[in-house]
Each structure stands twice: as structure tokens, then as C-alpha cells.
């Protein structure tokens, strides 16, 4: 059987789509706002640094003018004093000053100066650059460097600004945005779930309605006012049910009309033929023969009509079983006695002597009688009937001593008018109309049981029909029965 995968279902798809959609949306918004904010903050940091560097560079240039005569120590002191002062005031990052002697002096530990920045500054350019470099703490981080040539003093001044504090802020921001994206996609999924439920609700209403119609409740209709978008569907669905039940009713009516129409003339015929039968002795011999023929075929005709009506009622689904409890042994004994077939043996285990079942007696009688008649007609007579209680089921077998039934015909015999191929000397089609066994199978099915046919299992040739019915009654204490 085809089983749709769960994720192909409307429900799962809508939920998933909502979740993915809201995830994408919130991720998009997050990325966008993060980029915007980050760039803003970086630029601001850069600008602050630039302003400070501009002020600083003017200041240091002034101080470094006319310092050619100073010793290295004096120069150190001058620059370091300024740097300390500068650090206190600007507190940007690492300030590096390289006076005319080319010796690097910095506020903290020496930070790297990228060589391309250095050479550009030495050529007299003002340079700014973001790069990855070693910080004053010694690890690699994102840094911003501004290099200013102090041309008048023949010196260089660099300011290396770490982005670390900013990075931390941005990191927090990133976490918050991720959280928001996560939460909103969960919200999306929940929303999708409810949306899907809303969308699927009418479908499940329709499917429920269809199920109850299939179960035979033709009064089921869909409410029209539920949803204007779906009212067209509801309308056509209801119309379909209307049409369907109309047709079924028409068929049922036809069946019952036919039955009534056939019944009345049959009634008249039966009563009249009976009068003729009673007065047969006073008729000429030819007329007597005619009356006998008429009477016999009237009986056949009545049986045929009854079978046809039974079948048409089964088709209309109008069958209600008339269940009553009875003893299976007694029932089968009576069937056999009535069948005028004294050769049939009834076999059962001692423990099944009082096996009680609850079934439609008339129908079950027809089942067994039809099997016996079928055996008499095609199977050279029934040899034995057995019954047995198996858990909640009872099993009845009917065996004949005919040629058996070919495996390929074993399903077909239960079809209507399903006479089978008479090849290889197997059972030939006889005079009966092939409704008997199909009625057997319909009645058994109406009881929730099954019927099948095999070869006899005792080695002799012949067919073995098995009827299995879930109709066993639970055991009771024995009581004295009046007989």
C-alpha cells in the first residue's frame, strides 16, 4: 500500500515553510542591522581616533622640533613623557612615536606596524588601515592604525587602536540577534502549525464526512457557512452526496419495486397452481403432466427470484442480520435432516457438543443448505460436515466426493453466475443458476467471517468448503434444558 511520507503532508509543509520563512526573514534583518550598526560603530571609532591623532600629531611635532642636539636618553624622556601624558588624555590605544633617530617608542608594549604602512608614512603620506595584528597583550586582533609623518620634525607618529571593546559590544549584539532569529523562527513554526491546522481543518471535515458517507450515513452534509472560500467545494461535495444517495435510493427502490412486482403475480400463480394440484386427479393425463411441470418450475422460479432479491438487498447494503443464539450441533443436525440426504455424517469433538453461537439463523441455514445443494449438484453428494470451535471462531466444513475444484477456479466459484471451466473432467456446469455460492460468500461476509474451498485433506478426491465465523458465544454453566 502507498504510504505518503509525513513531510509531504500539507500540515508539515506549511509548518516547515513558516519556520524557514521566519528564520530567513529574521536572519536577513539581523545580518542587515548588524552590518549597519557595526560599520557605524567602526567608523565612529575611526573618526574619534583620527581627530585625536590629528591633535596629537600637531602637539608632538611641535615638541620634536629642534631636537637634533638631544641625546638618546633626553629624547626618550621627552617622548615617553609625552606618551604618558597622551595616554592619560586620549586613552585610545598604543601610541608609537619614532623620532628622527628612528627608534620606536610606544605607550605600552610594542605593537607591530605593518611594513606597508611604515614605508608609506616614511614617504610622507598619512595612512590609515584596518588590519589584523599583534596587540599590546600579545594576541592577534583586529586593529586600526593611523600613521602620520611628522615632516617638520623628521619623525613618524602612529596610533594603533584595538577594536576589542567594540568587538565585545558587537559580539553581544550578534548573540542577541541570533537569539531573536531563533525565537522568531520558533514563533514562525508555531504560527505555521496553527495556520496549517486552520487550512487543514476543512479538509479533515470533508474527509470525516466522506468516511461517514462511505459507512452508509447518507444524511451527512458539510456545513455551508463555515468558510466562504470553501463553500464552492462544500457545495459540490454536498451535491455529489445528494446525487449519490439519490442513485442508491433509486437502485434500492428499483430492487424493492421489482421484488414487489414479481411477488404479486408469483403469489397468484402459487395459489392457483396449488388448486390445480389438488384437483390433478380429475384432469386428463396430459394436463396432469403439464401441471406437474408448471408446479416444479414455479418452485424453481420462486427460488430464483428469492435469491435475486436477496442479492439485490445485499447490494443495497440494506441487510440487517437477525442475530439469535442457538446450539450449532442442533442447528446442523436439523439442516442435515431437512436436506433429505441421509448419507451426510456430522462430525465434531465431544467438547463442542454444546457449542453455542449467535448468528442469523435463516442466513446461516441458507449458507449450509446451499453448500449441501452445491455438493449434491456438482460434487456427487456431501459425505460429511464437521464443526469445531476455535477460540472466538467456529469453523464448519462441508466435504463432497466429486472431482474437486481446480485451484484457478477456487475464487471464481463464489462469483455471481460464476460457473467454472469444466475442463479436465472437473465439475461441469449444471442446471442451477450460479447464485448459490455467491450468496454463501455474501452471507458469511455479512457475519464478518470467510469461506474458502480446498481439496479434501483426507486423501480422497473431493472439494472441501470451509466456513469460518466469529460468532461463538462464551461458555455458560449448563442448565437443564426442556426437550
Amino acid at each position: 500500500m502507498f504510504r505518503p511520507r509525513w513531510w509531504r503532508g500539507l500540515f508539515a509543509r506549511v509548518t516547515l515553510a513558516y519556520a524557514i520563512g521566519s528564520l530567513l526573514l529574521s536572519v536577513g534583518v539581523a545580518v542587515f542591522s548588524y552590518t549597519l550598526v557595526a560599520e557605524r560603530l567602526l567608523t565612529e571609532t575611526d573618526n574619534t581616533a583620527q581627530e585625536q591623532v590629528w591633535l596629537n600629531s600637531t602637539d608632538i611635532q611641535k615638541r620634536l622640533q629642534n631636537t637634533k642636539s638631544l641625546t638618546e636618553e633626553e629624547l626618550d624622556e621627552l617622548v615617553l613623557d609625552w606618551l604618558a601624558d597622551d595616554f592619560r588624555t586620549s586613552n585610545l590605544g598604543d601610541s608609537i612615536v619614532i623620532p628622527s633617530d628612528g627608534k620606536k617608542r610606544s605607550t605600552l608594549l610594542e605593537a607591530d606596524i605593518p611594513s606597508d604602512v611604515r614605508s608609506a608614512v616614511q614617504e610622507g603620506e598619512i595612512v590609515q588601515k584596518r588590519y589584523l595584528g599583534k596587540t599590546d597583550q600579545g594576541d592577534i586582533a583586529k586593529l586600526y592604525i593611523i600613521g602620520v609623518p611628522l615632516i617638520d620634525a623628521n619623525a613618524e607618529y602612529y596610533e594603533v587602536v584595538p577594536y576589542a571593546p567594540l568587538e565585545k559590544t558587537l559580539g553581544d549584539f550578534r548573540n542577541i540577534l541570533t537569539g531573536v532569529a531563533f525565537i522568531s523562527s520558533i514563533f514562525g513554526a508555531v504560527l505555521g502549525y496553527y495556520a496549517a491546522r486552520q487550512a487543514v481543518a476543512p479538509v479533515s471535515r470533508i474527509s470525516n464526512a466522506a468516511e461517514s458517507i462511505a459507512a452508509g450515513d447518507f444524511d451527512t452534509r458539510l456545513d455551508m457557512e463555515v468558510d466562504p472560500d470553501l463553500s464552492a467545494l462544500s457545495k459540490s461535495f454536498n451535491e455529489m452526496v445528494e446525487q449519490l444517495s439519490f442513485r442508491i435510493e433509486r437502485d434500492e427502490r428499483f430492487a424493492s419495486d421489482v421484488s414487489h412486482e414479481l411477488r404479486s403475480p408469483l403469489m397468484t400463480l402459487a395459489a392457483s397452481v396449488e388448486v390445480l394440484e389438488r384437483r390433478k386427479d380429475s384432469l386428463p393425463e396430459v394436463a396432469q403432466q403439464a401441471v406437474t411441470l408448471l408446479s416444479d418450475d414455479l418452485t424453481r422460479f420462486q427460488n430464483l427470484v428469492q435469491d435475486l432479491l436477496e442479492i439485490s438487498r445485499l447490494d443495497a447494503g440494506a441487510v440487517q442480520l437477525q442475530l439469535s443464539p442457538f446450539l450449532l450441533r442442533e442447528f446442523l443436525e436439523n439442516i442435515i435432516a431437512q436436506s433429505k440426504n441421509p448419507g451426510i455424517e456430522l462430525l465434531f469433538e465431544e467438547e463442542d457438543n454444546d457449542l453455542a453461537i449467535k448468528a442469523d439463523k435463516r442466513r446461516l441455514a441458507q449458507v449450509i443448505t446451499n453448500l449441501i445443494e452445491n455438493g449434491a449438484k456438482y460434487g456427487e453428494g456431501i459425505t460429511e460436515i464437521t464443526f469445531q470451535g476455535i477460540d472466538e471462531d467456529v469453523q464448519i466444513t462441508v466435504e463432497d466426493k466429486g472431482p474437486g475444484i481446480l485451484p484457478e477456479d477456487r475464487m471464481r466459484v463464489f462469483e455471481r453466475f460464476g460457473r467454472i471451466s469444466s475442463d479436465a473432467g472437473k465439475r461441469a456446469s449444471g442446471t442451477g443458476v450460479g447464485l448459490g455460492l455467491s450468496l454463501v460468500s455474501e452471507h458469511v461476509r455479512a457475519h464478518g467471517g470467510q469461506v474458502w474451498v480446498t481439496d479434501r485433506i483426507d486423501g480422497h478426491h473431493g472439494a472441501r468448503f470451509v466456513v469460518e465465523l466469529p460468532v461463538r458465544m462464551e461458555e455458560h454453566n449448563d442448565e437443564e434444558m426442556a426437550v
Partner: protein, 229 residues
């Protein structure tokens, strides 16, 4: 056969009525015909019949109503004719007061057998055997056709009476539906058990103080009924 036993046949199809009348007269019964429910009630008031045969599919007053009307006035045996055996019609007809039913088309011979069974008196073959049975407040006199409860006479139909007498013949013993069908209605094993069930139900409304929890006519094992001594 009782000479002059009158059978009222209610059937709207004239041809069927004619044929059935012909066949019944051949069997030796006197037949009174009625084509509608109205004329059936008139006929019955004018000449009370010994057995009534009613087709439930009648124009105008339907068979159920005819059955109820007759039952209000009389305990005459009534046989219903229904279209099918497996409908609610059967139970509805029995509850309307019918004693037995036949499905169309039936053989008039079968109808005659049913009529004879209806007319057979309860336990008439063994007179004197159960002159009076007393069970609790119930007192059954088979010969007189009387049932007393606390000294007051109960009005049972003939079939209800036969059923009660049959159960009373062996108080405490369980009678299967099949046995009761044979003894009360004259059916073989394959009679319709609903006949017994509906009549037991009707009998209980008359003999029991609380028909919902019967004291006398008790269901046993689901397989049958017994009269609780």
C-alpha cells in the same frame, strides 16, 4: 377440520385475493374477503372471524393499524403477510398484535398449516394433566384458558396463553426458542426466533409487576426462556 371456521383475508391486490380465497376454500375454510383496512374492520365487526390474515401493505389504514384495532377488541389469532422476513416490519407487526407472519409469496398449504396451528388449543392433547398450576401469585388453568394474578384474571391472547402454559408445564426448565416455536407455533427448527422474543416481551407486560426485571418469565443463557417457580 372445524367446519365453518371463518378466515378474514385482508389483501388489496384483487387477483391475489381471489387466488388465495380459491386455495383456502379448497382447503375447506370459509373465507371472508376485504380489500381495504376500512372494510376489514367493518367485516370483522359484522362477522367476527376465527383467524385474520392481513397484508401489511394496504392503502389507507395500513395493516399495522388494522391489527391494532382488531387486537383491542379481540384475542383472535392474526397472521400478518409481509414483503420480507429481514425487515423491521416483522417485529413491528408482531408488536402490533400479530401472532405469526408469512412472507409473500407463500404457499396456501403453508398458510393452512399456520391457521391449524393457531387454532389448536393449548395442551389440548393432554387434558387434565395440568388442571391448575400455581406459581407465586400466578394461577394458570389450562383447561379453562384462564390466568389469574393475585386472583384477578389476566387477558392474554391465545398465543400468549399457549406460551405461558408451555413454560408452566415444566417450571424451572429452560425452553429453547426452537422448542417453543415447535410447541406453540408448530414450526420446525428453522422458525423465526423473533416470534418467541416478541411474544415473551408481550407476555411479560401482562404477568410481570416489573417487565424490565422479570420475576416469572426469565431469559436463560440467551438460549431460551423458563418460568421461574
Amino acid at each position: 377440520m372445524d367446519v365453518g371456521t371463518k378466515i378474514l383475508t385482508v389483501e388489496d391486490d384483487e387477483r391475489i385475493r381471489q387466488a388465495v380465497t380459491l386455495a383456502l376454500e379448497e382447503e375447506g375454510w370459509d373465507v371472508i374477503e376485504a380489500g381495504t383496512g376500512e372494510s376489514a374492520l367493518e367485516q370483522f365487526t359484522a362477522t367476527p372471524a376465527d383467524v385474520v390474515l392481513i397484508d401489511i401493505m394496504l392503502p389507507g389504514i395500513d395493516g399495522f393499524e388494522v391489527c391494532r384495532s382488531i387486537r383491542r377488541a379481540s384475542d383472535v389469532p392474526i397472521i400478518m403477510v409481509t414483503a420480507r422476513a429481514d425487515t423491521h416490519d416483522v417485529v413491528a407487526g408482531l408488536e402490533a398484535g400479530a401472532d405469526d407472519y408469512l412472507t409473500k409469496p407463500f404457499a396456501p398449504k403453508e398458510l393452512s398449516a399456520r391457521i391449524r396451528a393457531m387454532l389448536r388449543r393449548a395442551r389440548s392433547t393432554e387434558p387434565g394433566e395440568l388442571e391448575r398450576i400455581k406459581i407465586g401469585e400466578l394461577e394458570i388453568s389450562a383447561d379453562e384458558g384462564l390466568v389469574l394474578k393475585s386472583g384477578e384474571e389476566l387477558h392474554l391472547t391465545k398465543t400468549e396463553f399457549k406460551l405461558l402454559v408451555e413454560l408452566a408445564s415444566q417450571p424451572g426448565k429452560v425452553f429453547s426458542r426452537e422448542v417453543l416455536l415447535e410447541r406453540v407455533w408448530g414450526y420446525d427448527y428453522f422458525g423465526d426466533g423473533r416470534l418467541v422474543d416478541v411474544h415473551v416481551r408481550r407476555l411479560r407486560t401482562k404477568v410481570e409487576s416489573d417487565p424490565a426485571s422479570p420475576r416469572y418469565v426469565v431469559t436463560s443463557r440467551g438460549l431460551g426462556y423458563k418460568l421461574q417457580p
